[in-house]
Amino acid sequence: MSLIPFLFVVAIIIATVGLGLYATRKASSASDFFVAGRQVSVFMNASAISGEYLSAASFMGIAGLVMKNGYDALWYPVGYAAGYLLLLLFIAGPLRRFGAYTIPDFAEGRFDSPTFRKVAVLFVLCIGFFYTMPQMKGAGVTMSTILNWPYWVGIAVVGSVITFNVALGGMKGITFVQAFQYWAKAFAISVPFFVLMSVYGGYSGALKQNADAPADAPKFARDTTLKFAGKDKAPANAVSFSPLGLTEMRFPSTGAATIDKISTARKPASGEDPITLESPSDPSVFVATPLVVTQGGVPVELNGKPVKTAPKIEFANPGQVAFTSGSYVPNSPTNRKWIEPYGTLTGKHGYPLLYTYSLIIALVCGTAGLPHILVRFYTNPDGRAAKRTTFWVMVLLGVFYVFTPMWGTLGRSLLPELYANNKTDAVVIALPRIFENKLLGEILAGITSAGAFAAFMSTFSGLLVSMSGAWAHDIYGKMLNPGATTQQRLTAFKVAAVVFGIVSMLLGLLVESFDITLMVGWAFAIAAASYFPLLLLGAWWRGLTKFGAATGMLLGGTLSLLAILTFMGIEKKWLPFDAPPLIKALLEQPAIWGVPLSLGIMIVVSLITSRHIPRDISSKMLRLHAPEEMGYSKNYVE
C-alpha cells in the first residue's frame, strides 16, 4: 500500500546523489569546497539558501504545529522568514564585504584574536549538532510512517546519502543540489494542496468553520480505529478528552491498548475538590463525559460559566482503540482557542504576551545568527549580490511558508483524528490519503513524502558542510596544522564530513522522544543569544572588543541553553523540583532576556576593556561597509 510513496522517496534520493555527483566533477580547489568558488549567481544562491533553510521543522513541523495550536503557531513561519529582513538590514552586506570564509574567520579578523576563533568554532559545532538532531528525527519518523520501517533506518539512509555527497563535493557539490531541493519542496507543499482544495474546499472556508462556531470542537465524522503509543513514548501516550461533550472509545478484543492511568485533563487548582475516576467496569468500552469542577461541593464558575474538565488517560502498552462516530476528538483545542491569539501554545504558562514576544525575538534574531546559513553569504561574488540574494530568499521562503498553515487548517477540518494519537506532525503526509481515489491519494502522499525527504537532506547537508568547514578550515588549517597544504585541508574536510555525519546519526538515535520544533528552538535560542549580537555589534559598533564579544556570546549562549535544558528537565520530571509559571515561561523561551543580556554584556565589557579595540579599527569598518568599487573589500583566501 505504501509502494508509491516509497518510490517517490527513492527518486528524490537518487536525484540528490546524481545531481551531487554531476556538480562535483569540477569541485577541486579549496574555495570550491568551502564557498563554491564565490561564483554562485544570485538566484541560484537564493534557491540554495532557501533549500538549505527549509528543514524538517518547516516542511512538517509548522503544519503540524498550526494544526495543534492554531493562530499562535503562525508566529513560527513568520519569524523564520522575517528574520532574513534583519539579516539583510544589518548583516548580509557587511559580512560578505569583510570577505572571510567562515564566521570564525570573521571573529578572528574583526578582533585580531586567534583565541576568539576557538570560541566561535565551538558555537558553530554546538548549534550545528543541535540542529541536526531534529533533522534526523524527522527522517526516522517519516520512514516509519510511510513504510513502517524501524526508526533508525530512515536516519541511516538520509545520513549516509548526505555524508557521501558532502564528503565528495563540499559546498560546490551541494549548492546545486540544494537549489534543486528548494524547488522540489515548493512543488511538494503547493501542488498537492491545490488538488486537495479543488475537492475539499478552501483555506478561508475551513477557517470560517472555526470562527463561526467558537464554542465547538472537532468531532469524528465516522467510526475510526487508531493506533496509540505506549508508556515508553510518553507524553505521546496521553489522551485528554474534550470537556464539551461525550467521547466513546471501544477496545478491540485483540491488539488493544491498555489503560495505565486515569486522571483529569485540567490540573485542579488549590482548594478545589479532588475528582477521582475509576476504571470502567466493562473493559471493552470507555465513555468520557464532561466533569464539573467544584469547591466545597459548589460548582466553580469563571466569567459566569461553570468550569468543566474531562478525563485524561495514559496508555500502558501500544495498541489500537476505536472511536465512535460523533465523539469529540480528544487532545484538540476548542475552535475559539484555536483560531484566536493567545491559545494553547503561548498561553500554556499563563503569560501569553510575554511568551509571544520571547518567541518572536528568538525566531527573528536566531535566523539572523545561524552559522550554516551565514556561511552561504560568502558564496556571493560581492556585498551587493549578498543583499539581492537575501531579497530573493525572502520571496522564496514566503511563497513556501504561506502554504504551511493551510495544511494545518485543512488538517483540522478533514483529518481531526490526528489530534487523538498525537500525530499532528504527520499531517502533510497523512492528509493526501483522504482521497476516495486511492491511487491519487498515494501519488500526492508520495510527493509530500519526497518533499519531506528533500527537507531533511538539504538541511543536513548544509549543516555538515558548515561543521566540516569549521573543522578543516578553522581548527585543522589554522590551529592544528597551520602549514597545511590545500590537499591536506581538503582531506581534513572529507574526514571531518564522515566523522560528523556518523556522530549526527548516532545523536539522532537518542532523540526519538523529543519534539522536532522544540529541538529546532534550542538551536535558534542559542544562535539568537550568541552569533546575532556578535555580528550586529561587530559590524556596526567600532567599540566592540574581543573580550566584550566573547563574554557576551559565551554567557548569553550557554545561559539560554541551560534555561531550555532546565525547562525540559522539569517537564520530563528529570529534575526533582517545579518552578512557578512565570519562571517556566522564561526558561522555555529565553530569548527575551538572553538577547538583551548578551548585548548588554558585550557593551559593558567592551567599554571596560576599551584599550583593546584593534588599532586599525577604521580600516576594518571601511572593509565592512565601503562599496566594493572603493577598494577596501578583501578576501581572506583567494
Binding site: 503562525l74 539583510l88 531579497f391 514566503g398
Partner: protein, 105 residues
Amino acid sequence: MTTVADDEAARAALARAMMQRQAALSIRVAAVFLILIFGLPLVNWLLPQAAGASVGGFTFTWLLLGVLFYPITWLLSGYFIRESDRIEAQIAAEYPHAAGKGTAR
C-alpha cells in the same frame, strides 16, 4: 595629495560618515518592521474585537499574520535594497580618491 588610505583620522571620518548614512536607512526600515511585528501582539491583546473581525472568511489578524506579512517584508526589503544601492553609489562618487591598500580579489 594625501589619500584617505594614509591617514587613520581621515579613514575614521570616512568610515563614520559612510556608516551613519547606511545605518540611518537600516534603522528606518527596521523600525517599520519592528513596529509591525511587535505591534500585532498588542493589537491582538488590546483590541480582540478588531483582531477577530471577519475579512473574506479570514479573521483580520490571521489574514495579516498568515498571508499578508510575507509581501509586506518583501516590500520593505525591496525598498531597502534600492535605497542602499543609491546611497552606496553616492558615497563612491563623493570619495573618488578613497581607494585604500588592497583591491578586491
